[in-house]
């Protein structure tokens, strides 16, 4: 675009000529697709056959650029993942930007380019959007909301209520990467091996899992805020069954463990942005594990636990020294503005 202005002004959200130019020259050209091109107040399309999935999420991560990603990539991946874990194939996204006056134009351009690249790679279209600007000091650089529509195939019905005793819990990779990447970057903690966010779109991994075990997958989640421990507790509570995991079987990068030791965090409660937790039948565990490990986002996949009859609604963990204890939901130690 022609870079007349180097920073975002209140005028960019006025609806007038500055707004128009921002939309046409930045957003429309980056996200270019036939549904967005008319630049109407809405995108018009024919619904695909079958059932639809619909979701929304807002992204306020601080800082907006971090190792392994940025707020734009996160906003696209996060909403794709919310669709994908329900078994939906993501199709269309909306993108709304709340920008703080004074945001350097090149930072906005980098975020938008990152969103466009992520959407293109993932095969989804950003088909509608909105831009608002708030006065300096009334926002923090940039907030993004995305909503997404996806198609749910056949009679697929993934739900924690489908979980049965004897099922197996599989995680698609190492836990806590995103949380530690944001935290160490934000606090300026330099590490020997820097940790990158795992931010990634998971719909192709989900597809591979469903193809490998069409009727064996009970429920899936992406463990974002609250981490693995919170997802497992939700599964246990919804199914009325117990989940038993072994600490030694949960993949965690050494650098993440090290940072957790120093900062007093537990990787099992840290946010992930590119990981999948799947509960599958015992018979399909092998096939699902193999499918995950053959996928670039699932190389470190591991079986980490089993579903048992009792104690109902609880998650138990066998610690590395061999004693068992309860693994509770996240309480109290959240990191603010992690996504």
């Amino acid at each position: 675009m022609t870079k007349v202005l180097k920073t975002i002004l209140l005028a960019h959200g006025s609806g007038g000529s500055h707004s128009r130019r921002l939309v046409e020259e930045l957003f429309a050209s980056a996200f270019a697709n036939p549904l967005l091109a008319p630049l109407n107040d809405q995108a018009v399309f024919s619904p695909p056959s079958g059932r639809l999935a619909f979701t929304t999420d807002s992204y306020v991560v601080k800082p907006i650029f971090f190792p392994g990603g940025d707020i734009g990539k996160l906003a696209v991946c996060g909403t794709i993942n919310d669709l994908a874990v329900g078994g939906a194939e993501p199709l269309y996204l909306s993108a709304s930007f709340i920008i703080e006056e004074g945001l350097p134009m090149d930072e906005l351009e980098r975020v938008v380019a990152s969103m466009a690249r992520t959407a293109l790679d993932a095969g989804v279209m950003i088909v509608t959007g909105d831009t608002k600007v708030v006065e300096r000091g009334k926002g923090d650089k940039l907030f993004i909301n995305t909503a997404g529509i996806g198609k749910v195939g056949g009679s697929l019905d993934l739900a924690p209520s489908k979980i049965r005793a004897g099922d197996v819990v599989i995680v698609s990779g190492t836990m806590g990467d995103h949380g530690i990447a944001i935290l160490t970057h934000r606090e300026g903690i330099r590490m020997e091996t820097p940790v990158e966010s795992d931010c990634a779109p998971l719909h192709t991994l989900v597809r591979a899992v469903l193809d490998a075990a069409p009727s064996g997958v009970r429920a899936m989640r992406d463990p974002t805020r609250g981490g693995l421990a919170t997802v497992l507790n939700e599964f246990a509570a919804s199914s009325g069954l117990a989940i038993s995991v072994r600490e030694d079987d949960i993949p965690v990068k050494d650098a993440v463990r090290g940072a957790c030791e120093i900062l007093g965090f537990d990787p099992l409660y840290l946010a992930n942005e590119g990981k999948l937790i799947a509960v599958v039948s015992k018979e399909s565990a092998e096939a699902v594990l193999e499918a995950m490990r053959s996928h670039p986002y699932g190389r470190d996949a591991a079986v980490t636990g089993v579903v048992e009859e009792a104690p109902k609604g609880k998650v138990l963990i066998e610690t590395s020294i061999g004693n068992r204890r309860i693994l509770d939901m996240l309480s109290g130690e959240q990191l603010p503005r992690i996504c």
């Binding site: 606090e187 050494d254 590395s320 061999g322 204890r325 309860i326 309480s331 109290g332």
Partner: protein
């Protein structure tokens, strides 16, 4: 991961637990003073793995928890009255409830309250904008005090004039003496804190053995350290010995870290201090020496004392003294949870109630 994995080995841990069961005959009550031990023992399920005749009692070793209600209210009042001042605090303090609010609520109400991971974080904040007054809320034991002192010395060296410190530090040995003098409960021996002792030296507990007949073992915080510490203490008790032993000998010495002590003593001097649940303990706090009074927030802003009112129904005081376990408090896991804490022991990750809530309920 080196220095960690070797202290979390299953076979070794289970082997030590077996040895404890073999030698343990007597009913004994052991107090782990330090909140980090309470956390580690709970996290690794050590309490449940011990024979029933060994009772572990959690002591007053969580710095946020022992900070008196009066001091909590004092800093909340200060935050309300001086919105222009930046308050730098460790994260654990944010949620501690005072009579009318918490720091987290004061922040939402417009206070500029920032979480730092080390005292040096406050130095950075002060350096960024020399026109803003920055007050570091210095809550902690002998582990924290030297780094706060070093931060103050660095501020002075760099000519920073906008940083001051509200010293709410507490000292460990005087509190242990106060617990023994109070005589409210039978403590047969102590597991002493590894990191505090790395600073003050194991010799600081000599009086417990010689005056009170209580054996002590200084232990590290990895699960095998804690289990080994318990084993060594049980062995002393079974053999009738009353000694100060060091399990955590890769870090702890008899005399401690003399350099850290020197820095701490240059800036601070012992003073009486009010502990939650225990009351005033002579010589158990640290006040800033006159030579550094320009960096003493208490004097610089003439911060008045706060109301000394415990939250209604809260039994943190009794928990801190080891008189009751958290489950005996009627508020525990009902009105008082980590999400909506009533007392400080439920707030801090080192707090006994938080550890019991997170790791022990219905396990």
């Amino acid at each position: 991961m080196r220095y960690v994995d070797e202290f979390r080995k299953r076979e070794e841990a289970q082997g030590l637990l077996r040895k404890i069961r073999e030698i343990s005959q007597r009913e004994v009550s052991i107090m782990e003073i330090c909140g980090t031990h309470t956390h580690s023992i709970s996290k690794y399920g050590v309490r449940e793995a011990l024979p029933p005749n060994i009772r572990l009692i959690s002591g007053p070793g969580c710095p946020v928890c022992v900070t008196s209600a009066a001091d909590v209210n004092r800093l909340l009042d200060f935050s309300r009255s001086r919105r222009d001042v930046v308050m730098a605090t460790f994260g654990d303090m944010m949620k501690v409830p005072g009579s009318a609010s918490s720091l987290q609520e004061e922040k939402a109400g417009g206070g500029d309250i920032r979480v730092v991971y080390s005292p040096l974080g406050a130095l950075d904040i002060a350096g960024e904008d020399p026109s803003r007054e920055v007050v570091l809320l210095a809550v902690g034991f002998e582990t924290t005090a030297p780094t706060v002192a070093a931060t103050m010395l660095a501020a002075r060296e760099n000519g920073l004039r906008n940083l001051s410190v509200l010293s709410l530090h507490k000292l460990t040995p005087p509190a242990m003496r106060a617990l023994m003098d109070a005589g409210e409960m039978d403590i047969d021996g102590f597991i002493c804190p590894g990191h505090v002792t790395a600073i003050i030296g194991a010799g600081a507990y000599g009086f417990l053995a010689s005056e009170y007949g209580s054996p002590c073992v200084v232990a590290g915080f990895e699960p095998i350290d804690a289990i080994m510490g318990i084993y060594m203490l049980v062995r002393q008790l079974e053999e009738g010995r009353k000694e100060i032993e060091i399990e955590y000998d890769r870090v702890v010495t008899w005399n401690g870290n003399l350099k850290a002590q020197e820095v701490m003593n240059r800036v601070f001097e012992p003073a009486d201090s009010l502990w939650r649940g225990i009351g005033n303990i002579p010589g158990s706090g640290l006040r800033i020496r006159n030579e550094f009074s320009d960096m003493d927030a208490e004097k610089r802003f003439s911060i008045p004392p706060g109301e000394d009112a415990e939250p209604k129904g809260c039994k943190c005081g009794s928990v801190l003294k080891g008189l009751i376990t958290p489950e005996a408090c009627p508020l525990f896991a009902k009105a008082c949870t980590p999400e909506f804490p009533i007392g400080p022991c439920m707030v801090s990750s080192e707090g006994t109630c938080a550890a019991f809530f997170k790791y022990r309920r219905a396990a």
